[in-house]
């Protein structure tokens, strides 16, 4: 597949459009699978030292969104319409989270992606998410 955006252009897009959160995320791999890191900080944590649900949601959402833009280019304001998420294990304290994103459908109107989220260095996922985005007419 031909991609329209690489890691640099995706990072620049994120910094420009989402300046409040762009520093939280780093794009670590761009290919059929997009890999995004959440740089875990103190204020991402819940009591007990694990990353909170909303921050894992944000990582999944950003990851799938960027994987759509990687394919479509920075042309459109895609909007999340549905999200489904399973929280399966407690993230390891003191470790970044790594999201591995696949795009399963890239239609004219809807795009669907899914993601597995891991504590860095682990092979068992802490969470799974699938999300649908509505693609506005170009």
């Amino acid at each position: 597949m031909h991609f329209k955006m690489d890691a640099t252009s995706l990072s620049e897009f994120l910094a420009r459009e989402f300046p409040q959160v762009a520093g939280d995320f780093a794009i670590e791999g761009v290919g059929e699978e997009l890999v995004v890191r959440l740089r875990v900080r103190e204020d991402h944590l819940r009591p007990g030292g694990t990353v909170s649900g909303p921050n894992m949601f944000a990582l999944a959402d950003v990851g799938i969104y960027l994987a759509i833009l990687q394919r479509l280019g920075p042309v459109a304001l895609a909007v999340t319409t549905n999200a489904s998420m399973d929280f399966m294990r407690k993230p390891e304290a003191g470790r970044d989270l790594i999201a591995r994103v696949r795009i399963l459908k890239l239609g004219r109107v809807l795009a669907v992606g899914d993601v597995l989220i891991f504590s860095e260095g682990d092979t068992k996922p802490v969470a799974r998410a699938s999300m649908t985005y509505s693609i506005p007419p170009q």
Copy 2:
């Protein structure tokens, strides 16, 4: 139904256990339906002035969690295991969000709740969520 926690004790629990976010939320009604307000601030917003997905997720998660504690008491560390969410309309800029929560199942091991989220003053929901929590053995 007999409830084990009222608005005051739920608010105190939130302030004690989740001090970083407790100020964002206000409990506005406690009955079969629990009503929770997200006091929308600048840093909850996405470009365009609407509340971001992760903040709506957080509102749904806090609301259902509190509705479970309302019934079980502050005894247990319930953990979100599954979340499903539909984002249906753009929240109105400059308005708080109101979550209306129902508990659909309160089992020995699993609890399920759902929630409709509204821009304050509107009758059409901006989002819908259902979540499952694992209840640890008491």
Copy 3:
């Protein structure tokens, strides 16, 4: 709200378009909430005498689909794009299932509904579902 189809026209639509399954379902109430009965038969059951998951899925799907047609008229071939379902209790053996459907969004492109499913005569739901339908251009 003005509805475009009543119980009779919805039943006729079902019999004409889905003759294989139309006899399984009966429309019991048409208003803001649409009420649909699954007439439980032997071949809907799993070992243990309860209605199987796929048959509860079918009831939710038919119910939300009909509630969309009730509002749009029999004009379009809406397609299910997403479904989320919680199975919360074992249905009672030997009882029909009753689905209570709400439409939460009726957009130009997407419609969202949710449903609670009960064993007839019970007040605690056996299942909950929410589904999204893609509405083709008219």
Copy 4:
């Protein structure tokens, strides 16, 4: 990983416990990924000649269920508690469906799996599902 059931014992289990539907399914691969075929027949179809949603749900449900038994053995009556499904493309008329199942979590109380469903011979999935099962105490 050591598996407790192979293709033959899983097929026998299916035939014994679910005689009504066992003939619909064939186990085609057992490893980290379990591959299950839905032998599509006339009565699985919707108008237009494609497999209906409930039949795709049944395929996903059976597939993840068997992948759990493959790991746990035929000891327990696991129950589906949550299902999330995206329907992404129309299945090809006249072709079997192939489900590719992964187990993402196998806990003491809950198991989570996901599945991609393909029209045989295609590389783009027609549907995606993730499901949670409650594992009864042994």
